[in-house]
């Protein structure tokens, strides 16, 4: 069953002018998101995963240069006037950020803040908005929601604060929820609570969700499709099983190989690290951005940046000149099992 496309991102680019030159943070991200679907965006620090979503929401500072197209149910958002964006932001597209303490106002009770979000997009009385806020807190399993609505953010624990933010996000029955590292600063038992709350919110609103994280475990259990980013580029996109079981981009394969496992799937084996570190976004090498760290690199990788093309299946895309060679290969077949950080380095 194919459902309505709610969000269409096409060739999105973001660059920031700095004193040292132009930082090209996002270079050509494209994806479509259907109602009810969860897209996981994974990548390491500086891969452009958060900037992509800020650009979608139109939340970047004025100095940022945004190119390409973002269409929400057919309506173009890039370059749209702020007045138009304001009806969509927080209403049709909601966002959950990493740190709930910075998304909540410390000097207002949480109930008032949720009610404010309700009234910003609906013509309802203050009393009705307040009732809706209490109802939302109850859905998020905040105990004694009527009393707790009068409490201030500092009176809540980290996990509860994040659930208050999620309650605010679902207040207007959004079509898209963008969650940017929603569990990163939290302990695992609290992370489990927050992930469950997010799923509750998504199911209740039937919204599509973009889940941005660096944690491949969180994505595995939550996402339908996964977008892997590296140095501002989408390097692999596909359904969650293809990405984890048949990666066709050496970086994705390397990420999976570098993870220690809690279950006994890789007991006693050495981890497979990726040597080196990501390139500076100020002066990117001309070819594949992963080239300098890639054990499979050849001459072509240094001159031509690979396109995102169909790999194991038509809807599984990978950006690698040699993606076909990765079929059936394990991380340890491709990467060296070293503990040194520079190729050929002393042990």
């Amino acid at each position: 069953m194919t459902r309505e496309i709610v969000l269409e991102v096409e060739d999105l680019t973001v660059s920031f002018p700095t004193e040292d030159g132009l930082v090209r943070a996002v270079r050509g991200v494209s994806y479509t998101l259907r109602r009810g679907e969860v897209l996981g965006i994974v990548g390491e620090s500086g891969s452009g995963k958060s900037v992509t979503s800020m650009a979608v929401m139109g939340l970047l500072p004025g100095s940022a240069k945004v190119g390409g197209s973002v269409r929400f149910r057919g309506q173009e958002l890039v370059g749209a006037p702020d007045k138009e964006l304001r009806t969509i932001r927080g209403g049709r597209i909601a966002m959950v950020f990493q740190d709930p303490m910075t998304s909540l106002n410390p000097v207002y009770p949480v109930g008032d803040q949720i009610a404010e979000a309700v009234r910003a997009h609906n013509d309802v009385s203050a009393a009705a908005a307040r009732e809706r806020a209490i109802e939302l807190l109850a859905i998020m399993q905040i105990p004694r929601p009527r009393e707790r609505a009068r409490d201030y953010p500092h009176e809540f624990s980290g996990g509860m604060r994040q659930r208050v933010v999620i309650a605010t996000a679902m207040a207007n029955d959004p079509d898209v929820i963008i969650a940017d590292e929603p569990t990163t600063a939290l302990d695992v038992t609290v992370q489990a609570q927050v992930l469950r709350a997010l799923e509750t919110a998504r199911a209740a609103t039937d919204a599509a969700m973009v889940l941005i994280t660096h944690d491949l475990g969180v994505v595995a259990g939550t996402a339908d499709r996964v977008l892997v980013m590296y140095a501002g580029r989408p390097v692999e996109l596909g359904d969650v099983d293809s990405i984890y079981y048949e990666p066709r981009m050496p970086y994705t394969l390397g990420l999976i190989g570098s993870l220690p496992r809690l279950d006994d799937a890789r007991r006693g084996e050495r981890l497979v690290p990726i040597t080196g570190s990501p390139p500076s976004l100020l002066d990117l090498p001309p070819g594949c951005p992963f080239g300098p760290r890639c054990p499979m690199r050849q001459e072509v990788c240094e001159s031509a940046e690979p396109e995102l093309l169909a790999a194991s299946a038509p809807d599984h895309l990978a950006a690698c000149h040699f993606s076909a060679d990765l079929e059936g290969r394990r991380p340890e077949d491709v990467f060296a099992l070293t503990s040194a950080d520079h190729p050929g380095g002393a042990r």
Binding site: Y244, L255, S258, P260, R261
Partner: protein, 338 residues
Amino acid sequence: MNGSPLLSVRDLVKHYPVRGKGLSRRTAGQVHAVCGVSFDLHRGETLGLVGESGCGKSTTGRAVLNLQPPTSGHVVFDGLDLGTVGAAEMRRLRQRMQIVFQDPYASLDPRMTVSDAVAEPLRIHDTYRQEGPDRVRELLATVGLNPEHGNRYPHEFSGGQRQRVGIARALAMRPELIVLDEPVSALDVSIQAGVVNLLEDLQEQLGLAYLFVAHDLSVVRHIAHRVAVMYLGRIVEVGDTDELFDRPAHPYTQALISAIPLPDPRLERVRARERIVIGGDVPNPAAPPSGCRFRTRCPKFTRLTEAERTVCVEQPPDLAERGHGHPVACHYAEAAAG
């Protein structure tokens, strides 16, 4: 393990005073960071110390090195009680026990070249004159860095490389014990694996003992020989790594293991349904619950009878062997598949 342990910790307690808000700054209470922790660590062994924020795992690590002297209890290193040795003796002992911190950005002096940073412990302990720059180059090579880069400053290195510099510094005095306080938590996963491999190699080559303090159970399962799980200042379960992860007996350990999502979509679809999600948050360590400290969040507690609950409320459970093959601090411990 044979022989006497390299490190022996007995009934370690560390309380921090909470000062009042008024002018007098009177002590208003005590934060019970660590409450009666005991464990042994042998040469060449890695003990993982895991738990969530505020469980006292880092405080334990620092108390072991006498960086924060304990309120009470004993830390015995190679037969010497650190509470009774003099300052000069302590200084000599410090060469044999080192620490690597979490944040490689904060733990290096930005105005010191990497070579100088690694040479600093040699100068402090007055061995630089004999060993000199050669030893520094050797140390940099040992941790997988290019010795030619020794004259660079920390900001020229990535996070993973800085953490390697931190490890080189710790190795400089040829220690026998290293406390690793969240050594890979600040690093991206692709970088983390190289540092974990390095720690494993160093242990094998140099016979080091590690006290590995971390909140990431996956890393601990990979690197540790034995694991101790802490909750609110107490060890709730301790055992051999595989045994503990495959047959956890404490409800907290079970919830902790169950809460971690695995990077495996097919497995995760099954696990998500069976996940034990414990409610609430860690209670305030200045006023911990009576009896068993985990009872306020314990999924098992809610299923107990009134009489059984009274035991949990009134008696703190001892960390003892209860027929599970390893010690566990729960009156109603019950093994479960991990």
